[in-house]
Symmetry: none
Subunit: 333 residues, 2 copies
DNA sequence: GGGCTGTGTCGAAGCGCTTCGATTTGACCG
DNA sequence: CGGTCAAATCGAAGCGCTTCGACACAGCCC
C-alpha cells in the first residue's frame, strides 16, 4: 500500500506537504505541487476515503438502491432514466444496486469510496437498507415516505396535492358533484391511494362540492357502479386513465397520471405526477445532503395540470371530446 | 465529533470491539453487538467511509458505458432495464458510466476491482472507449457493430433478418409487389437503415417479388409518394409504425418495431427487434467473456414476428383492420 | 542592516482507526 | 474439581492522516 509518506519521500518533501497538496488546505507553490502530483501518479497513491477535499479524486458515483422484484418495470425505468440524467449533470455515474435478497451487495457498495451517496427506492426492505447506510455513515435519500420522521431525508410525489388539484380544477369549471375512482389500495400502493383520497376529500370539503370516492378493486365495473349509485355526478377523477375509456361522454374526466415524457400521451385532461421531476429532485437532495446541507425531512414534488378537452362545464363535454381524441393537446410547461 | 472510543466508553467495551462490530472482521456476540449498535445510534457515530466489511470481494458490478446525449431515452431506458435485470440474475449490480465528454469516469471505473466487465453502447466515442478498456485489459462487449472484426465482441439486433422476415411474411401471403419505407438514414441510425434495406432487397430478390424502397427523409409524404409512383404495391414494410397511420386500408402493413415489453402495443403485424433480448444476450456474452470463454465476434439477435390483422391476402385487408384496432393481439413467445 | 510581514514548508505531536497477541470467559469433559 | 479448548473481548502498539506551531526565506520599509 502506498502511503502519504511514500509519496513524500519520492517527491522529496514532508508528509504534511503532500497532505496539503492533496487537500488544498494550505497553499503550496506550483513547483512543489507539480512534483508531488507527479509522484502521486507515478507511485499510484490513492488517497483514502476521507481525503477528498480537493477535486483530485472526488466521489464520482451515486448509487440507486432498488428492488427488481415486485415493481412495475416501465415506471422504474423512467425513474432510473431521469436519475441517471440528473446524476450526469452533477458529473456522477449511477450504480444500480439491485440485490433483492440480501444486504451484501449494498454493504459492498457502501464500502466503496467511489460512491458519494445513496438513493433508496421505497420498498419493503427500504428501512433495513437505510439503517445499514446510517450505521456506516453514508448519505442517503429515500424516494418514498416510509422513513419520514425517522431522520431520513424523503422525497415523494405529492399525491395529496394531485387529488386536491383535480377537485379544484373541476370545481373551478362549475362541477358540484365529483366522483373519484381511486387506485387499488393493495399492498404497496396503499399509501398512494390513501394520500390521493385524503387530498380529494379535503379539497371537496374546502370547495363545498360533493365528493364520492370508490376504491377500484371493490367492483368489476366501478365506473358504472359509481355513476348509477350517484346520478348527480358530472365529473370523474380517475387514478390512471386505463379505466377511463368506459366513462360516458357527458361526464368530465380528469386523470391522475405519470408524466408523459415517456411518450404515452393521454386524451384526457390530466394531473401529472412526474417521475422525471421526482428523480431530479431526489438527486439534487442527495447532492445537497452529501455536501453537508440539512434538507427538509420530506420534500413533495407537486403535480402538473395538463389541460385537454376532456372536461368542461357540466353537461357540455360531448361536443369537444371527439376532436380531443386526435387533437394531441399541448403541455403546460 | 464522535469517535470509536466514545462509542466504546458508552457501551462499556474496548475500542477494538466497536471496530469489530462495525466491520464484522471478528465475531462479536449478539449481546455485545446490540449494545454497541445502540450506542452508535444514540451517540450518532458516523464511521468514516473507508470502513468496509470485507476485503477479498469478488467483482460484483458490471459497467454499462453509454452516452446520454444524442440518444432516444425511452429506447435506452428499455435496454438498460433489461440489462439490469439480466445482470441481477448473475448477482451483479450495474454501474451506468454516462460520462459524455471525457474518459476520466471510464478510467476510474476501469480501475475499480469491483467491476468485472464492461458493456459499451455503440456511439461515436465507443471505439475510443473500447481501446482504453483493451489497454487496461478489461473484458468488454460492444452493443452495436462498429467494432466487429477488430477483435471486439459485438452483439446487435439483426436488422437485416428483420427486413427479410417482413418480405418473407408478405410474400407467403401472396403479395408480389412490396414497398418499404425505411428509417431515415441520418447520422447514427444510418447503419440500421442500410442493413434493413439490405435484408429487404436480398429477400425480395430471393422470393422473386418487386421490392420498392424509399428513404423516409426524402419527402414530406413518403407513403403517398411511394404509392402513387408504384400503384402495383399491395403491401408496405414500415420502419416503426408512427407513419403507418396514413397508409390506406387496402394496403397490407408490416411494421419493424422495438419489442412491446414496455407496453406500447401496435395495431400492426410487426417484426419486433427486442431490446430486451439484446440486453440479456449482451450480459450473457460479457459474463462468458469475463469467465474466459471466447464468444463469436458478432452475435445477432433475431427478430420476432407478431401477427395481427394488418396484413392478409392482397386487397382483402379492409374488412379486418377495424377489429384489429381493439383486438389486442397476442405475442408469439 | 534590522525589523516586519507574508509565504511556503517542515516536523513533531495528536488523533482515530486497525491489528494482533494476550487475556478472559464459559462450556464441556474426564 | 481441574484441565482443555474455542469463542469473545481487551489492550497496547502501530499506522496513516491531520493539525499546528515553528522556521526559513524573500521582499519591503525604515
Amino acid at each position: 500500500m502506498v502511503t502519504i509518506a511514500d509519496v513524500a519521500r519520492h517527491a522529496g518533501v514532508a508528509p504534511s506537504t503532500v497532505f496539503y497538496v492533496v487537500t488544498g488546505k494550505r497553499p503550496i507553490s506550483a513547483e512543489t505541487r507539480v512534483r508531488v502530483r507527479d509522484s502521486i501518479v507515478e507511485l499510484g497513491y490513492r488517497p483514502p476515503a476521507g481525503l477528498r477535499s480537493l477535486r483530485l479524486d472526488p466521489p464520482d458515483v451515486m448509487a440507486l438502491v432498488l428492488p427488481l422484484r415486485d415493481v412495475h418495470l416501465p415506471v422504474v425505468a423512467r425513474l432510473v432514466t431521469s436519475i441517471a440524467v440528473a446524476a450526469r449533470e452533477h458529473e456522477l455515474d449511477l450504480l444500480l444496486v439491485t440485490a433483492d435478497r440480501d444486504l451484501a451487495g449494498l454493504r459492498r457498495a457502501a464500502g466503496s469510496d467511489r460512491v458519494g451517496g445513496f438513493l433508496v427506492l421505497d420498498s419493503e426492505d427500504a428501512g433495513e437498507r437505510l439503517r445499514l447506510l446510517g450505521e456506516v455513515g453514508r448519505s442517503a435519500v429515500l424516494i418514498g415516505q416510509s422513513g419520514a420522521g425517522n431522520g431520513v431525508t424523503c422525497v415523494d410525489l405529492d399525491f395529496e396535492a394531485a387529488g386536491a388539484r383535480c377537485v379544484d380544477h373541476l370545481a373551478d369549471l362549475g362541477h358540484r358533484s365529483i366522483g373519484f375512482l381511486n387506485a387499488p389500495a393493495a399492498g404497496h400502493s396503499s399509501g398512494v391511494a390513501r394520500r390521493t383520497l385524503a387530498g380529494f376529500t379535503a379539497a371537496a370539503m374546502r370547495r363545498g362540492v360533493v365528493g364520492t370516492a370508490l376504491g377500484r378493486e371493490s367492483l368489476v365495473h366501478p365506473t358504472t357502479a359509481l355513476l348509477c349509485a350517484h346520478p348527480a355526478v358530472t365529473a370523474l377523477v380517475v387514478h390512471d386513465d386505463s379505466a377511463a375509456e368506459q366513462v360516458p361522454r357527458d361526464i368530465a374526466v380528469v386523470a391522475i397520471r405519470p408524466d408523459e415524457a415517456a411518450g404515452q400521451t393521454s386524451p384526457f385532461t390530466s394531473v401529472q405526477l412526474s417521475e422525471s421531476d421526482l428523480g431530479r429532485r431526489a438527486v439534487d437532495l442527495l447532492v445537497a445532503l452529501a455536501g453537508g446541507a440539512v434538507p427538509p425531512s420530506l420534500t413533495l414534488v407537486p403535480p402538473h395540470l395538463v389541460q385537454r378537452e376532456s372536461c368542461s362545464l357540466p353537461g357540455r363535454r360531448t361536443a369537444v371530446v371527439s376532436t380531443a381524441r386526435f387533437g394531441g393537446g399541448r403541455h403546460d410547461r
